[in-house]
């Protein structure tokens, strides 16, 4: 048996050494890791509008993603009433950079509903304009999130990307890993012909062919699919005040 003081000495020295090593590594790589994360998110946002691009964002280099995002995407931040927020508003909500892309929906999800803010990305490409909404909800094990691109008519979905924190690989994780899942949302509509908000439902049982408000689910991933349905229903609803304003403005113009 070692004496208590020698045990404590060993533990203190070891912990200090380990903590120092990891802290050094973490701080020296921190900047690059943050940059990687930002590019990862931008790639996902651009992935929702891949139909408007000449090249699949998955295959683009990091630099290309940055350049494309900077030149073609206009980012705005909205509050629950659909009002466009200024840089100061975003900073006051707790995001240092003041850019809409800094908004962390995971943090927003914890705030009371009427205090939440969220980003909207307007993509202006040669092939047209698209509005990209960011949504976040819960899957089976942890959070899921996604980007939904709407066509210029503000009704039809042009594309979608999904991601998750810890869904089961091969089942719930298919919302991200299986490219056919997000592509099922293309052409679906979030308003019915009367202009009432319907969102898009992920269905366990088929019968979605020709139905513009539903897509096929993934077998074995019912809870994740229900999470996607709930996330879309609630997440897109937050943008409705703004979308209605835009649609109204368009009507009066036309």
């Amino acid at each position: 048996m070692d004496s208590t003081s020698s045990v404590i000495r060993f533990v203190v020295i070891m912990t200090a050494g380990v903590a120092l090593t990891l802290a050094l590594l973490s701080t020296s790589w921190g900047g690059q890791i943050k940059a990687n994360e930002a590019i990862f998110n931008k790639r996902a946002i651009l992935g929702a509008v891949s139909d408007y691009l000449t090249q699949d964002p998955k295959l683009m280099a990091d630099g290309e993603i940055e350049a494309l995002f900077a030149s073609k995407v206009e980012q705005i931040a909205l509050d629950m009433s659909g009002a466009v927020l200024t840089k100061d508003d975003i900073v006051n909500s707790g995001y240092k950079g003041g850019k809409p892309e800094n908004i962390d929906l995971a943090k927003e999800k914890k705030k009371p509903e009427d205090e939440r803010i969220f980003p909207l990305y307007v993509f202006n490409g040669e092939k047209g304009k698209s509005f990209i909404l960011s949504v976040r909800g819960n899957g089976l094990w942890d959070e899921i999130w996604g980007n939904i691109a709407l066509k210029d008519d503000l009704t039809t979905i042009a594309g979608a990307t999904f991601d998750h924190k810890g869904e089961t690989p091969g089942l719930g994780a298919e919302i991200k890993d299986n490219p056919t899942f997000p592509s099922r949302f293309k052409g679906k509509k979030i308003f019915n012909d009367a202009g009432v908000y319907t969102s898009v439902e992920v269905r366990k049982i088929g019968g979605t062919a020709g139905n513009p408000y539903a897509v096929d689910g993934i077998s074995g991933a019912t809870v994740t699919a229900d999470g996607v349905t709930e996330m879309l229903e609630r997440g897109i609803k937050y943008y409705l005040p703004y979308l209605n304003k835009q649609a109204g403005a368009k009507k009066t113009k036309g």
Binding site: M1, D2, S6, V7, F10, V11, M14, T15, V18, T21, L22, L25, S26, W29, Q32, I33, N36, E37, I39, F40, D163, K165, G166, T168, P169, G170, L171, D177, P179, T180, S183, S219, G220
Partner: protein
Amino acid sequence: MAETTATPEVTVKEKEPLFGKAEKKLLLDPLGDTNPITIQVLGICSALAVTSLVYPSVVMAIAVVFVCGFSSLFTSLVRNKIPKQVRMIVQLVIIATLVTIVELTLKRFNYPIYKQLSVYIGLIITNCIVMGRLEAYAMANRPWRAFVDGLGNGVGYGVILIIVAVIREIFGKGTLFAGSPIQINIIGASNNEVGYLINTAAESGIGSLFAGYTNNNLMVLPAAAMFIIGVLIWIQRSYRPTLVDVS
């Protein structure tokens, strides 16, 4: 106890070659006769969880080889200094540090893979093989041998992981290396977006022989990994009856 750890007896002599017979045995035995999964039945938890796809399994295997090798090395280096009362906590700190380094390295150099594997990398800390080797071997042997022993056990684990993942992915999803740049689509009904080597929707050729084939959803579930590992254990013990427990 089902989890028996076999400790190879190694006699230490002076002036041995750096990579002699003993080292070779340490490196290769875990691939067969002392395999951590099929013989010692360790590390089953992560073997069931991560093996639904090959690509994450390969990265997981590499990470475990790294963590297992270096945690054995570091533990062996300080083995005479570690106070007996806290030795398991010390081992845990060494393992956790290495796992955090793996995680940071992936974040820094390949963020997409980190995102795909974030859950599994953390799981390495709970992998019984790593701590099993520290307790059974590294605490009592010299650093170089402990390192080789750690590497060997990591590889022995990784090989089984990849075998199971290949079977599960082909029959569960009809693909190989899905999610990686070298994804191969093996079998499935082709639509416009994806091409398969065996297209079950084809009118003629090899694909038409497989008309009506669907992927086996059981293979995607962890239960399938248990069956496959069970069969692997059965095959291995049929070939080497000496491995069968008499009890």
